[in-house]
Symmetry: none
Subunit: 416 residues, 2 copies
């Protein structure tokens, strides 16, 4: 549960929730529901009560500060029928903290942060003034953590996860939730589903999720509530089976960027690469250079936004621009050849298109993009019509350009 009116108003994006999801999943805790409530006693009480009825185990962040709108502790103590008492040790530590940070004597308002529900375990918070609390009674557990992300994270790792893991060990071995993500690009979600769908039953008990974005479709396999060795075994065999089915569309796992895959391939083949970009305006170069060590293969690029640049810097012939236009197969091919020549590289990528919102014509509507890839003097070019906003069209163009270069090095590519 995440507590805070600012979360519901959307002024704060709830990154704590995602972080808790990852950390608890890795420790084998399955989260069955997440609830966000405003800083109102009744809303907090109703939600904690319902959550306790569902699972008996609630982790809540937020509402532990010193100000009036922070009321989580009192509400949860009431739910458990416990009074709050002033913890003298906590009070001394709080006062010492204010002194150490040179903030002068502690304001009276902070005293209530040293109040603790009877029987609760205090989880010390060296990063802030609100400690965490572990409240447990009659088989029901509520853990309260501060909402400040760095404080929440510290308490989670140092205090909460060790207790959860120890508890699971007592219950006889730890069960975990683990995932493996396989990344694809250049193929639609529905085309993937047609390929992969027949496999879904064989993958059980792993669950399979499709996660589409402008970069492509990620496939996530998850093993739920099994011992770690079993999770790893299931994900290894199920993932490998799935990977085989994905074929050439697969380019990496987990957080791997396509640009990193491309750079690894070019390194292994001792190639170098240059880029010639029009509608992407530098995005392909930016993606390649985002990867540490890109300098081993990436030499440079020309952003040819103006046609004169395409002519003068990249040597695209005036006749090509006049006869076919800047967004054409001929231009894309000439741009790639120009980049390879100017930068003396063995590979080159060229992108030219209509990103919109203006500039579309009946023959070349917004979203029309020509992409060319040169490898050792041999150029392939493709046309795509991308949907979406200017930003999406540009992002899809950059991703597709990198993907075309990647595919040139696949064993079965027609250019081989």
């Amino acid at each position: 549960m995440t507590i805070g009116t600012e979360l519901l108003l959307g002024h704060t994006i709830d990154t704590n929730a995602a972080e808790l999801g990852r950390a608890l999943g890795a420790a084998g805790v399955e989260i069955v529901r997440r609830t966000t409530v405003p800083d109102r006693p009744k809303a907090i009480a109703d939600a904690v009560r319902a959550a306790l009825e569902r699972t008996g185990f609630v982790l809540a962040t937020g509402g532990l500060g010193p100000t009036k709108d922070d009321m989580t502790k009192k509400v949860v103590a009431d739910l458990f029928g416990k009074a709050l008492y002033l913890d003298e040790g906590l009070l001394k530590a709080l006062e010492a903290r204010f002194k150490r940070l040179g903030r002068g004597p502690m304001p009276a308002i902070n005293r209530n942060q040293a109040e603790v529900p009877e029987g609760a375990t205090v989880l010390p918070n060296p990063r802030g003034s609100a400690p965490g609390l572990w409240i447990e009674d009659a088989g029901r557990v509520v853990i309260l953590l501060p909402g400040v992300p760095s404080e929440m994270r510290g308490l989670l790792i140092e205090e909460v996860l060790p207790r959860i893991v120890a508890r699971q060990a007592k219950d006889g071995g730890t069960r975990v939730v683990r995932s493996r993500t396989l990344r694809t690009t250049g193929v639609s979600e529905s085309a993937l589903a047609e390929r992969v769908g027949p496999l879904e039953e064989a993958l059980a008990p792993l669950s399979l999720a499709y996660l589409p974005s402008v970069e492509g479709v990620d496939l996530r396999l998850t093993a739920w509530s099994v011992v770690p060795e079993e999770a790893d075994r299931l994900l290894a065999s199920g993932g490998d089976r799935l990977k085989k089915e994905l074929g050439d569309h697969y380019y990496g796992e987990e957080e791997t960027l396509l640009a990193a895959t491309v750079i690894d391939i070019l390194k292994s083949k001792s190639k170098t690469v240059a880029v010639a970009e029009s509608c992407t305006g530098g995005m392909v170069g930016a993606r390649l250079t985002a990867i540490p060590g890109a300098s081993a293969v990436f030499v440079g690029g020309v952003v040819g936004y103006d046609d004169n640049v395409k002519r003068e810097q990249l040597g695209v012939p005036s006749e090509v621009l006049e006869q076919h236009g800047a967004v054409s197969e001929e231009s894309a091919r000439a741009m790639a050849a120009g980049a390879a020549r100017v930068f003396k590289t063995s590979c080159a990528i060229a992108v030219t298109g209509v990103a919109g919102p203006g500039g579309g014509t009946p023959e070349k509507p917004v979203g029309t993009v020509w992409l060319a890839v040169l490898v050792d003097g041999n150029t392939t070019a493709v046309k795509r019509t991308f949907p979406g906003s200017r930003e999406e069209i540009r992002a899809r163009s950059a991703q597709t350009a990198l993907d075309l270069l990647r595919r040139r090095f696949l064993p079965g590519h027609p250019s081989r």
Copy 2:
């Protein structure tokens, strides 16, 4: 309600929830609870049922895709006791979409996206294959939107908010939560707080939030639960007062990108610009060309990752590279001059630095970046040492480069 196992696992950060909070708050809707559930029929059904009991009005995103893990529509139709029927109009539109995007015939798996619960209003989604649905019966409303953020946003603005506002107007008058955001860059949060702090009381009843990021610090004023005219009046006067205090650090409002501000300035001064990038690898060009209409001022760029490119394409003298290195004031100045000469522009931006993680030295540690800006033959250069990861250093470099060009056109700039 946001639906998706990946949200609970924390693999996806729930930005839709924040966006819905902001949009609905601005339309005067108070969100009393947010719930996230996994892609499991029982979990979805339980949560929707409980939410309907609380308020009678539920907006849910996610789980409308074509694959097996997308089951929201079926579950909600069952809750309302409605059957699903195949909407022939939707089916035709879907098939046309596949054709238009050149993806060949629509896979059979997508047919279920044209299924609609009896009596539901279809909210057309021109950005994707899953339409939104407005299901209303016996005073209970469930709105279903796709989880893809751009599709969710489009449907929210074009279909959902107008219906909600019309409904409120019928109920007689509205109180709203409205915000105004002022954007700054090139100044630290604490320096801003010293400037702005004394103003906070005078700004009441508006609340003031500091939102720092690698792009700069946004300041958000919010008016709470007042009638629309009062909110607008408070935000106009309070915002203008705050803006005055921000001085030269202010560059725009709301979602305005610094690149858009720079392009507006260059347009109004009839200037043109080119870029020469090393460590940013194309990011400055990408940011400028992200703005529709950039072509009026942006001519092109050279990504000079390799020193040979700096020499050959930008004319940086070999002596400069040998004596001072590629990351130096002299190199940055020569790169800017080279870009202006090659692209025949009145303005140029150059960036050269050590983005890390490798490549740092005691004299030039990771994070050292030289930036140069040329306007009408007059070049200014500055050195920065940025903290953070490779990605952060590059993002700060690109933002600072644009900001330096912006500041050159301020009335009080020393170069005037």
